[in-house]
Symmetry: C2
Subunit: 204 residues, 2 copies
DNA sequence: GTCTATATGACGATAGAC
DNA sequence: GTCTATCGTCATATAGAC
């Protein structure tokens, strides 16, 4: 009796589901600690499988984390397409930053590789990651340019500076500081950081 | 023949000088990489002594890095006292952030412990560090309050949010992103980040 | 593909000669 | 106090049975 196509498909689905679970766990763990601090044991325990099994899915820790980052960029891309087209450009940008902050505050967003970590080196050599990054950056870049031409974002700022400043909110330590203080609710923290990001510290 | 007090003092000076060199190297290395990524071998090589000798000065990696962070807070404190007293409060704050950014861009400022690293745990248990942190924060907090009462910093923002936002500039990844691009000079990067920090992204 | 067990290497810390 | 040499530990990655 030959294995039916359905059975094969089911096995593949299992495989995919397990891989998805691994990526989910990795994403969450990378949101809790730095790349160096996260161990493959952490991931294996979180998923509930043996460490060796991880290596059947991903050849190395670097590859795993890389895939996790690509997945996150995919989620960013998916979010971008849900932003109403009729929103003003600066409101689209605000929506993006708000979404990033909400993910950060829920520990669902890994720290961006802001320094020369092993991860950053791998990411910059990974075509999937770079492609996803360019796709996302292009969309955001358009919004920035539009917002600047409308004057709602300072046209004097180089668009790249605006882009990086928005990206940096996704790993803003201020969120962690304020959360630790316990003095503000999550929603308040998001609004406060949003305000300082777009309006700055000065009175308007 | 007894050792003269002068000789003793000289040996002590040597000791102090070596310790200073160790702290300097640690400070620079912590500016280049994260706490976990920095090794005691790195420090020993940078100073030009054997790793074992480090442990004659500092009992552990944690203690060494802790001392390094305390030393940096000391430099911050020293800088604060050089800021002209007749400057407007908001200009004092700008001067502080500019100084931080210049240190960051020259890799002379360790990343602040923004997440739960082993270092952060140690720092928060170290009275010297906490005391230095409170001293510095108090001075900055006064400037913030004054700037808010003058209306040059938004009085609607909780002072703590302003303080953390300023602190976060000392480890702003935007600086690294822009520096890597090679499109802006160090001085331009400092001014751009200063502008987004105080004025935000929106046009004024 | 999943597991247990292990090889390999890196790093913090120490021993002991000088 | 400085060095060389080494220990103990932990984490990545793999071997090999099932």
């Amino acid at each position: 009796m030959q294995p039916s196509p359905v059975k094969l498909s089911f096995k593949e689905q299992m495989h995919q589901a397990r891989e998805e679970a691994i990526l989910q766990a990795t994403c969450r763990l990378l949101g809790e600690k730095a790349y160096d601090a996260m161990t493959m044991d952490d991931v294996a325990n979180a998923v509930g499988i043996a460490k060796a099994s991880l290596y059947k899915h991903f050849a190395s820790k670097e590859e795993l984390c890389c895939a996790s980052m690509v997945q996150i960029l995919g989620k960013v891309h998916a979010f971008l397409s849900t932003v109403p087209a009729d929103l003003a450009p600066q409101d689209k940008l605000r929506a993006l930053v708000r979404w990033s902050l909400e993910r950060l505050i829920g520990n669902h967003m890994p720290l961006l590789p802001s320094r020369n970590t092993a991860l950053r080196t791998v990411l910059m050599a990974d075509n999937q990651y770079l492609h996803a990054l360019v796709t996302v950056s292009d969309q955001i870049g358009q919004w920035i340019t539009q917002a600047q031409s409308q004057g709602s974002v300072d046209p004097a700022l180089p668009p790249l500076v605006v882009l990086y400043t928005l990206y940096a909110r996704a790993c803003d330590p201020v969120v962690g500081f304020l959360k630790e203080g316990g003095q503000f609710s999550d929603a308040e923290i998001v609004e406060l950081v949003l305000k300082t990001c777009f309006d700055g510290l000065r009175s308007r």
